[in-house]
Symmetry: C2
Subunit: 284 residues, 2 copies
Amino acid sequence: MLGAIEAGGTKFVCAVSDNDLNNINKISIPTTTPEETFSKVFDFFDEYTLDAIGIGSFGPIDINPESDTYGYITSTPKTAWKHTDFIGAIKERYSIPVGWTTDVNAAALGELTKGAALENDSCLYLTVGTGIGGGAVVNGKVLEGFGHPEVGHILVRRHEKDTFEGFCPYHKDCLEGLAAGPAIEQRYNKKAQDLPEDSEAWDIEAYYLAQALVSYTLTLSPEKIILGGGVMKQKQLLPMIREKFAALLNDYVSTPDLEEYIVSPELGDDAGVTGCLLLALEEL
Amino acid sequence: MLGAIEAGGTKFVCAVSDNDLNNINKISIPTTTPEETFSKVFDFFDEYTLDAIGIGSFGPIDINPESDTYGYITSTPKTAWKHTDFIGAIKERYSIPVGWTTDVNAAALGELTKGAALENDSCLYLTVGTGIGGGAVVNGKVLEGFGHPEVGHILVRRHEKDTFEGFCPYHKDCLEGLAAGPAIEQRYNKKAQDLPEDSEAWDIEAYYLAQALVSYTLTLSPEKIILGGGVMKQKQLLPMIREKFAALLNDYVSTPDLEEYIVSPELGDDAGVTGCLLLALEEL
Ligand SMILES: Nc1ncnc2c1ncn2[C@@H]1O[C@H](COP(=O)(O)OP(=O)(O)O)[C@@H](O)[C@H]1O
Ligand SMILES: Nc1ncnc2c1ncn2[C@@H]1O[C@H](COP(=O)(O)OP(=O)(O)O)[C@@H](O)[C@H]1O
Ligand SMILES: [Zn+2]
Ligand SMILES: [Zn+2]
């Protein structure tokens, strides 16, 4: 039996499957403090005898096996979770092999193996929610170097109508600081989901995301870019992003047809959990 | 015997080596028109009997073997070279296997195999010269997806003192448009090499390059970033870039020590040719 923890900034999704990835059970737990959240995670997994567990965590996390803080969440803006020994907590409770990467690397792997990038060797997965996070797969392998991608924090140019200062505690007005859900909420004093479909907010949002996608395209040249997360539930955004992407790139490099290139997740909310189960499977 | 062509925007460097990569002969040919330049390239290689040739070309180039224009230089700003069938021209003259990637991917491979990134599995190589181009190696392999990296054209935020409009024919004020050698020259009406060491020009230059390096770091997480090209001959630039990089990243992710992370090429001008010879060797 395989376990999966998709540890997001708002909720932890925990799942158990058989070794063919068929779902056995799944729950969602709010992300509060490590003590409270882990205690509910344990309540869930204690019912099963797992062979391995795969974790995809919000970050930054330490993925360097040589490091003293391997398996930790490191400098996250979520203060309660700074310097949390995630793998340590899991291994202490269950002595089983643990697969470990970012939530968004897991989602990228899930979508490549079972979802929107099934026919590709590479993809970039971006989630636009409480934060903006991205993961990637290159030549079929999760992208890791000295660390893991943190594409949500690249710098973007300001939209001419935008005066919001940005909310990233590290960079103020990086991409996440200007375009994650809380930025939209703080800019308009209204939850993103409560803004009208034709609000200027979406023009600003699409401009920032398109800029970022141009940057990722020119740096990574992925075969597909998959956009998920709460903010992308605004269905008008995807075509606006494609249009602004084309204008900014100005045909300098030829990409796949944009309808095929910039797409929604096919696994929906299951991308991350699927990737975590795949990570667990690799540990067997 | 192996052949190498490092095809840059200003000059072509052609080399011949034995199969252990020991140099036999090498020349530099100015990049003018395809007819003129290729005719000098042929004059050079006609003297030898090569087993394979590796080409690292300025771009964008078509690297998709399924494509009708595989082996072409495609939409380059250098008008005379648009839609040039590079592999076609070489294969017509010499019926030998051809390795083919960008000049900067070749340089990245050269530096990883024989130079500054010898102990790493990944690196990014950036050249700041007539244009700005970058290549990368991930898990020991040259980075290619639907195409190849074109990191020189990402968008950056303007330096507050900079009013130069930018010279990129595709994007005006992308990184290349604001920070390649000709941008410095047009901003000050003076060749970059003729500006004083303490000119404000270098502050502006370091700001743009540091921004770009933050973006590459957050996207690719390479183990090393290597900065070459004519503009980097200004020795004061490297420490200025490291300083601004640290300020912009603001410790959000931990990188290797910056003196080890952002470095000069060790192969100097030989990085590209070395990578091309390695590409030729792979073809044997
Ligand atoms: N339908 C919607 N339209 C726009 N924004 C939404 C919508 N639903 C949720 N959001 C925003 O998405 C963010 C939550 O993102 P989500 O991906 O659901 O969770 P998390 O990123 O915490 O895992 C919140 O800022 C919320 O306002
Ligand atoms: N010592 C120097 N200091 C600053 N800029 C220089 C220096 N030497 C050359 N350059 C600039 O570098 C550019 C040429 O780059 P180079 O890497 O030599 O060639 P290319 O990019 O064409 O292959 C020119 O714009 C030139 O002004
Ligand atoms: Zn940030
Ligand atoms: Zn450009």
